[in-house]
Amino acid sequence: MNNRKTTPYALVLPAWVWLALFFVVPIGGMLSLSLTTGNVVTGFQQTFEVGNYATAVSSYWEQILRSLFYGGCATLVCIAVGYPVAYWIAFRGGENKSTYLLLILLPFFVSFVLRTISWRFFLSDNGMLLGTLKDIGLLPEGLTVLNSAPAVILGLAYNFVPFMILPIYAVLERMDPHMVEAAHDLYSDRIRAFTKVILPVSLPGVFAGVLMTFIPTSADYVNASVLGGAYNTMVGNVIRTEYLVNNDYPIAASITFVLMGLLLIGIFSYARALGTEKVMEVHA
């Protein structure tokens, strides 16, 4: 029977080692790096310099706030766009449900970067969309869509809306249709049946969707770089530049921790308000 007891540990060991070495330890490594002083030439010494965090926040609070704002807006757009789609596929998709879901996932077969750059070309001042509409006279000649906050937010929503649709669909699909029938039998109209029965059931899906869209959108930098121009940079852009261009690793690591801390505080208060199980269960 000893064999049976050790089996699960033998199974999880390789993945444990990998995740420990390349996920858990690196987070600690980054924490340690964020407390060093020095530069690339002289090397970095561990001085437990907490001031790095103050420097990071005072230099980049604008990008941090902008990231949370863009992420929040993109998440709201994802709910507005994604909820009705999930609802319709779950309740009206009929035999073609899986086909619709596949269509929603199919864009992932094209590289995320390529799709975002495609938007840039598609929306460029004299590109296929704006150029044509301007030629017909539907849009004023000087109109520019790119390099603006709405362009970034729509780009973020575009890239992450499937992560909102899928969890909402998952809960609605599992829902017992008799519950809605019961609501109708008890004389509730369509709106009340929705707000009193369907919406509460679907909320765990929305919660999971919010986590799966807000976290990656607020930490993204691809959309801000490609669609936002120079004046809409997000905290992701800062982290990337500090690490890969300026090589100011202590500040880079500090700002990453600030972002992580803010997101963790957000997730924990969110989970506390709504119940951890609900959030984790649908997520997994």
Partner: protein, 280 residues
């Protein structure tokens, strides 16, 4: 056009269950298709412009139809190398994350063990952590340990963020398995290894395949983490990113279109096979 006739079919849709005949425009359908059009707009743009014959270096306005980019699809040596790196990294990730994730998923789906909660928590964290954080953390550690970033650090990073996805996919499959089938195999005299090889593994196979393909797709598409840990090595998304400043050659559209077509074919095959299975 399509009209939603509410035929009273039990269990199809909650609204239809009322047995009231309704005849009105199905706005939900139009809305869903509009969202799908939004999702596909840049992809259609990419495909159409893989046939464009641009005048300058910027492939943005339509000039004329040509097939020459398909004939010269592999004319850029650097782009080919980037594509080769992307595909081999994705294959390695698929195999390594596939094996590690399958073992982990089997343990999570079948056994209770010490540290199971912690494992779930770490997996949840690895999945929900933003890519910037994962990339930055790995790069920090590589820097501090004086590891030169490149091809293998990229593979390490990709396996790290894919393994949890594979484990979840496999676990979902393990939970649905009927343990009596394995008992039957044991009763018929099969040892644990034979039972695993002839009974458990074939039944897990769809889950393992799905997890492996997910890992492949996540790996070949990844930009953010890769940009932190790849050093001088270029992958397909990284090459595209670098080329935006000087103008993206139409070959990128061609390769994007080819990748998309492979995905599309796999998806269609998958649907057809699922339909056939359902009909028995």
């Amino acid at each position: 056009m399509s009209v939603d006739v509410g035929t009273p079919k039990a269990g199809t849709s909650p609204g239809a269950g009322r047995g009231r005949t309704r005849r009105r425009a199905d706005w939900g359908r139009y809305y869903t298709w509009a969202v799908l059009a939004w999702l596909f707009a840049p992809i259609i743009f990419m495909i159409v412009f893989s046939f464009n014959d641009p005048a300058g270096r910027h492939n943005i306005t339509w000039q004329g139809f040509t097939l020459k980019w398909y004939q010269n699809a592999f004319a850029h040596a650097e782009l080919n190398e980037a594509m080769f790196n992307s595909v081999t990294i994705a294959l390695l990730t698929m195999v390594i994350a596939g094996v590690l994730g399958t073992l982990l998923g089997m343990a999570l789906g079948r056994f209770g063990f010490r540290g199971k909660q912690l494992t779930n928590l770490v997996m949840f964290a690895a999945i929900s952590a933003p890519e910037v954080v994962l990339g930055a953390a790995l790069l920090s550690t590589f820097l501090m340990m004086n590891v030169t970033t490149g091809y293998w650090t990229t593979v390490i990073a990709h396996v790290m963020f894919c393994v949890s996805f594979v484990a979840i996919t496999v676990r979902a499959r393990v939970i649905t398995l009927d343990p009596r089938l394995e008992e039957a195999a044991r009763d018929l005299g099969a040892g644990p290894w034979t039972t695993f090889r002839l009974v458990t593994l074939p039944m897990l196979f769809p889950g393992i395949m799905a997890g492996g393909m997910l890992a492949f797709a996540l790996s070949i598409d990844d930009y953010i983490i890769t940009s932190f840990v790849s050093g001088d090595v270029t992958t397909f998304p990284l090459w595209i990113w670098g080329a935006t400043r000087v103008g993206i050659p139409p070959q990128v559209n061609v390769m994007g279109t080819l990748l998309f077509s492979v995905g599309l074919i796999l998806a269609v095959v998958n649907i057809v096979m699922a339909r056939r299975r359902r009909r028995g």
